[in-house]
């Protein structure tokens, strides 16, 4: 072929490729199959594979993000109303709560509920509650179970649940809810709330013992490592099916917060057939377990479970009728949150969650339109967010140009720095000890920490309660007077001079022990030992140095840190708590004496124990929300602020972004089952993806050309050398 002809052909090929790239309908960098373009799918990511998907075991946010769309506990939170409000989910209505005496007779009207020996929660199950299609329900032509017991031929041909082609469904019954509560008590399930529920649900502990003994006996009889024990055959005294629609949970005394647990996946119905199906020999070896393949009544079921790559939720064809709320908060209508009022849920057909371990690719794919919503990692924060003159967060012009929207909400969480109250130096309840802790609390400038280390994505805490929890008061009403002073009606951190005066009162003028003249040395225990934590640890040191106190950092791994906390050998530490439910009890119990970590293995990591606080706690716990409860809470908060077992730290703010095609994105910090309310506009998404992802080929051609040109002198030199005569 002549050289000129070859050149022309190469040029034509390049032009053709460029034209193809310009004309193609599908972006080259689309990580999803082309046939999904325009489908009603929600795209998201997860950064860590979930450990458990069994509702009896799962207790992590990243796991609940999946199973809350699959399982339906009796109650749920209203999607739009604030403060958070419980409404029925798999129940017909909120439970009927009946105070009863020791004989189980309801207390007469007007009787003091505090005198109740037990409290009954009577729950009516929805009559249209139906499970997702599942092989455990499938029958054969003779009416027997299709996949129970499994024969060797079937077993040898399966690797995933999708290898069982026949599926069926059935209505969920009250017995399924009772079965699940029994699963919480059954030891081999390792339910994280078994210990807590044993304190409250009547007969829970006895059931655990009886089922444990029966299980051991069954193992001995069958010789199997993990046989299925039919929990229906063992009774739990406090949990009973009343009739075809209702069941009852009886708890000891009063525990008003129990109702919040009924909104968690632990109490979702579980069909015994599923438990038996997964309990068959040979399935666990193939990773086909209830912990991996959920069986629920919710709007979605897990249609693909490959946690190393992606998890896919698909619409449950048997989902009961549920509608988008018709009422919300002021401003919701204007924000478009009520555009779908009264429409049938769910809106989205499928949800595809891809494993994305690293923040940078996740962020770039969000910007390309391949994820519908995203959080903001600190690497991308400046690219996405700018602060106005009043300190309010807003989007950068680049984000606004793409139609991206921002949502912010203060989380119902607290990160605090605690003092070990059993420590001889920083602990104790004397005025001197209080003065020392107060001086430190003033010196540790949390506002600076928030600004430097969290991109201003937090607010300084004024006490144990975060915003959104009943009893939290804002601004001048709710500030901590021991650390802040009101200036122009706004709380301002007290000055370092005041902190120094308090330190002198504590017996350490200028941070030194007057007897020895040596500086006061305190120890900060932390599990943050990596190089990434160095800046924050140096910052802590600097804060203490303002008072002349020498802070020694004792960084260690998380196991040793836990051990120190359990033994009470830590002096100052940092920890956090995320609300289980929106009740002040869930935060104030972190300071309740009988919940101390060293003595009782509880969650009171500071081992704080003030009799006045402890006396008020049960009262606060049992009172309904109202002026009386608010007053008790304020007294408790005041006691805690005065003693100062914590430097109150900060309440983080959640920042999230979403594209213009993603609707109903109101942040909800309590509920995880919100996928059913979300809606996407697939057409707009497809248009934007095309617009944003045109392949750009010419730089590749330029690079190839540059490479060719750079090789040319070498080629010429080579040819010259080849032609040279030997010397």
């Amino acid at each position: 072929m002549p050289k000129s002809q070859r050149k022309t052909r190469l040029l034509s090929l390049a032009v053709l490729l460029t034209t193809l790239a310009a004309c193609t309908d599908t972006a080259w960098n689309n990580p999803y199959p082309a046939e999904q373009t325009g489908e009603n799918i929600y795209y998201s990511s997860f950064d860590e594979r979930p450990k458990h998907l069994d509702p009896a075991r799962s207790y992590s946010e990243n796991e609940w993000a999946f199973i809350s769309q699959i399982y339906e506990p009796p109650l749920q939170y209203h999607f739009l109303k604030r403060p958070y409000q419980l409404i029925p989910q798999s129940a017909v209505a909120l439970p009927e709560v009946v105070a009863v005496d020791a004989q189980g007779t309801p207390l007469p009207a007007g009787a003091d509920p505090q005198t109740a020996a037990f409290t009954d929660y009577i729950i009516t199950v929805r009559p249209d509650l139906r499970y997702q299609p599942h092989p455990a329900f499938a029958h054969n032509a003779q009416g027997g179970w299709r996949y129970w017991p499994l024969d060797d031929a079937t077993l040898s041909s399966v690797n995933t649940l999708n290898d069982f082609p026949e599926r069926d469904t059935r209505l969920a019954t009250p017995a399924d809810f009772v079965y699940q509560i029994k699963r919480l008590a059954f030891g081999p399930n390792h339910s994280p709330i078994a210990g807590l529920m044993a304190e409250h649900i009547v007969g829970f502990r006895d059931f655990a013992k009886a089922s444990g003994a029966a299980y051991r006996e069954l193992k001995r009889e069958t010789g199997e490592a993990d046989p299925w024990l039919d929990l229906r055959q063992i009774d739990m005294a406090g949990v009973k099916v009343l009739d075809g629609h209702r069941y009852r949970i009886r708890i000891r005394g009063r525990y008003p917060q129990f109702i919040y647990w009924l909104a968690m996946n632990f109490f979702a119905p579980m069909p015994w057939e599923a438990d038996r199906f997964y309990g068959q020999p040979g399935l666990a070896e193939r990773n086909i377990t209830l912990d991996w393949y959920p069986v629920g009544t919710g709007p979605y079921y897990l249609s693909e479970n490959n946690p190393n790559l992606r998890m896919v939720l698909a619409r449950n064809p048997h989902y009961h009728r549920e509608h988008y709320p018709t009422e919300g908060m002021p401003g919701d209508r204007e924000a478009g949150m009520l555009d779908d009022a009264g429409k049938t849920l769910p809106f989205i057909d499928r949800a595809v969650y891809s494993l994305e371990k690293e923040a940078i690719p996740r962020w770039n794919k969000f910007l390309q339109g391949y994820y519908d919503a995203s959080g903001i990692a600190s690497d991308s924060f400046d690219q996405a967010i700018q602060f106005g003159s009043g300190g309010e967060a807003g989007l950068t012009p680049a984000m606004r140009e793409r139609g991206i929207k921002l949502n912010t909400a203060v989380e119902t969480s607290i990160f605090y720095t605690g003092f070990n109250m059993a420590d001889p130096v920083v602990g104790g309840y004397t005025e001197k000890a209080r003065a020392l802790r107060r001086a430190i609390a003033i010196a540790v400038d949390i506002e600076e920490y928030i600004s430097v280390f969290t991109n201003d994505r937090a607010q300084a805490a004024q006490g144990p309660l975060p915003p959104g929890i009943y009893g939290y008061l804002d601004g001048a009403q709710g500030y901590n007077p021991y650390v802040y002073a009101l200036t122009d009606g706004r709380p301002r951190r007290r000055g370092i001079a005041e902190a120094k005066a308090l330190l002198a009162k504590a017996g350490y003028p200028n941070g030194r022990d007057p007897k020895t003249g040596a500086p006061l040395v305190l120890h900060y225990d932390t599990a943050s030992a990596g190089p990434g934590s160095k800046a924050a640890l140096d910052w802590y040191r600097k804060q203490f140095a303002k008072l002349g106190i020498e802070l020694v950092i004792r960084a260690t791994d998380y196991n040793r840190f836990q051990e120190k906390m359990l033994k009470g050998t830590a002096q100052i530490y940092t920890w956090g708590w995320n609300a289980d439910y929106p009740d002040p009890e869930n935060f104030l119990f972190l300071l309740y004496g009988p919940n101390g970590k060293v003595a009782y293995r509880g969650e009171n990591a500071s081992n704080y124990s003030n009799p006045a606080f402890d006396k008020l706690f049960p009262r606060m716990k049992n009172l309904p929300n109202g002026p009386e409860r608010l007053a008790v809470i304020q007294r408790m908060v005041e006691i805690a602020r005065r003693d100062g077992p914590w430097i109150w730290g900060f309440n983080p703010k959640a920042f999230s972004l979403h594209h213009a095609w993603y609707h109903n994105a109101k942040p909800h910090l309590m509920a995880n089952n919100t996928l059913k309310y979300k809606r996407v506009d697939p057409q707009l998404r497809a248009e934007k993806r095309r617009e944003w992802n045109h392949p750009v080929i010419w730089p590749v051609a330029v690079i190839a050309l540059v490479l060719l040109i750079s090789v040319a002198p070498a080629w010429i030199a080579f040819r010259r050398r080849e032609r040279e005569a030997a010397r």
Binding site: G187, H190, E285, R286, N364, I697
Partner: protein, 325 residues
């Protein structure tokens, strides 16, 4: 040769026993069974009873190395070390502490790792050897000098930079391939292009320099001078003689890593979202899943020993002077 291979395989047994013991000791120095239970049960509301129950159910309620309460031989066999190690030598990895079958997980995850590692190795070898031969050909010229400078510069840049830079340039600015992700079958091709290119480019600096050194060592030997003297063209001298004789050290480097290709690359797989084995071990360490850590270290040791044996065998194939006895 079979006697040699058999002997090497027998040598492997004490090595594997030692590796297993060392992994066991190192793991339990950092993590006690109580720590493991706490990690698996979650951070909230974990009771002592729940920890004990977890240990019993997962076989961690026994003493670590020596059971003083037991009788006779049970003093050694009724221990965590013995119970957890026995099946390992039959390549039965059992279940992870979170209940997943380890053998199944490995068999699923090794394919994506291989899908990246094999093309990266082959293309990388081809590119590196070509560049190295080119530099050897132009030795002591400005091309050689600047080639080495570029190689040293490329070696000095972190692998992470190539990954992030490649994703930004090719995936984000040019929109040519997906930034990350994976699929099965032919659909996986578009996800493999970028990690393979990045892997090859990231290895050019070190690979080219190493092979250039090997070639330069050979290029001044007598047989090369003889080849030139009999009038062979330089490309035939390089490919026909120098390359062939430099194969032994090249093989040393290449064959030994072949079995380890299964275990994948942590950084590449994390950034490109490849569901391979690269992060399997590190994730298990973070989750304190001893069953996986033990299995993966054992497998790594077996593969490494296998790689060394294969290297020895490959010597005999490329150099007739080498005999394994």
């Amino acid at each position: 040769m079979s006697a040699y291979v058999l002997r090497r395989l027998l040598y492997a047994i004490p090595i594997l026993l030692g590796v297993n013991l060392l992994t066991f000791v190192l793991f339990f120095v950092v993590n006690s069974p109580d720590d493991m239970a706490r990690m698996h049960l979650g951070g909230k509301r974990v009771t002592d009873a729940a920890i004990e129950q977890w240990k019993v159910d997962h076989g961690y309620a026994l003493p670590l190395l020596f059971n003083a309460q037991a009788e006779g031989g049970d003093k050694l066999t009724e221990t965590i070390l013995y119970q957890k190690s026995l099946k390992l030598f039959q390549f039965q990895f059992g279940q992870s502490d979170s209940g997943r079958d380890i053998g199944y997980d490995i068999s699923q995850r090794m394919w994506p790792s291989l899908a990246i590692a094999i093309p990266t190795l082959l293309v990388g070898l081809l590119v590196n050897i070509t560049f190295a031969l080119l530099l050897a050909f132009f030795r002591a010229t400005y091309l050689d000098f600047w080639g080495v400078v570029i190689c040293v510069t490329m070696m000095s840049i972190s692998g992470l930079f190539y990954i992030i830079g490649g994703q930004y340039l090719v995936g984000k600015l040019l929109n040519l391939v997906p930034i990350s992700g994976y699929d099965t079958g032919w659909a996986s091709l578009k996800f493999l292009v970028l990690p393979v290119i990045v892997g090859v480019i990231g290895g050019i600096g070190a690979g080219t320099r190493w092979y250039r050194t090997l070639f330069l060592e050979e290029i001044n030997k007598d047989y090369v001078r003889t080849a030139r003297a009999k009038g062979l063209a330089e490309q035939w001298v390089l490919f026909g003689h120098v390359f062939k004789n430099a194969l032994i050290p090249i093989l040393t480097g290449v064959v030994v890593v072949l079995p380890l290709l299964f275990t994948g690359s942590l950084l590449t797989e994390s950034f490109f979202g490849i569901p391979g084995l690269g992060s399997y071990t590190i994730d298990a360490i973070n989750r304190q899943d001893f069953a996986i850590v033990r299995a993966m270290v054992f497998l790594g040791a077996v593969l490494y020993i296998l790689g060394l044996i294969l290297t020895d065998i490959s010597y005999t194939l490329v150099d007739p002077r080498v005999r394994l006895e």
